[in-house]
Amino acid sequence: MKYKYIYAKDKLLIEDDCIVFLEKMSKQGWKLKRIFLSVFIFERCNEPLKYQLDYNDYDQEYIDIIEELGYEYICLYNNIKFYCHKDLNAIDLQTDPTIHELLILKKYSFSSIMGNFGMLLIFLIFLQTVLDYSPFGKQPADFYLYFNNEVLAICLYFLIALLFLQTIKNIDIRYKNQT
């Protein structure tokens, strides 16, 4: 088997749990390749790895230093960068718990969660506008006339569901990481 797929469930909620899980997988010979829609995709590896999650979005100097320290960038998921290191004793990216907590709370800040709700509201209003023109209750022949609206409505339903789940997850992460 070349790749392994594992649904994240709640492994992405708490950083430490996520790191423990990824390091356990590396001991079993699986290295994280990327994350897609809450599914971890692993590929084969020969050695145990140290993992770190990074919330910073700084300049080239910062990225250079991380690479100089020996960290390998793996992927970006939900604006979190995943890194691994071959040295299990490598220095963590975050060594000050106070600053670490501050970064997590900043990422999942109250205003960003409210922003999500705002977008959700806009999508709902847009959906309502689209549905006003949808062919429900009309003749089957009208279906072709309103086909584009139907597709748009389905896409909007999908986006709303995704955004809603993401918002709930962000609230969950924020409060689970608060000490």
Binding site: I65, L93, D96, L103
Partner: protein, 104 residues
Amino acid sequence: MARREFETLTPQMFYILLVLNVPRHGYEIMNEVSHITEGEVNIGAGTLYTLLPRFQTEGYIDLISIEDQKKIYQLTPLGKKKLQKEKVRIEKQLTLLEAIDYEV
């Protein structure tokens, strides 16, 4: 009342300010802290690059130059004052510890 940022310094914050008595860039700061504390205190890259702009905003350090995309910082008089305050705080803790006369 909410706790003010940098009201008390964590060891990482303290050592970053301490080694900036001479101009240094990020990687040098990390190495120097590890060196003077004999590896007891390590500064992660994420921690360092979160703290540097905040210290700069507070006026504790100044960005004095950029060489080869590396930002070089140095402690300001306000930063020195902050370290002095920290020294007084630590000395007070030591005095209290000695006054209690614990065998530590």
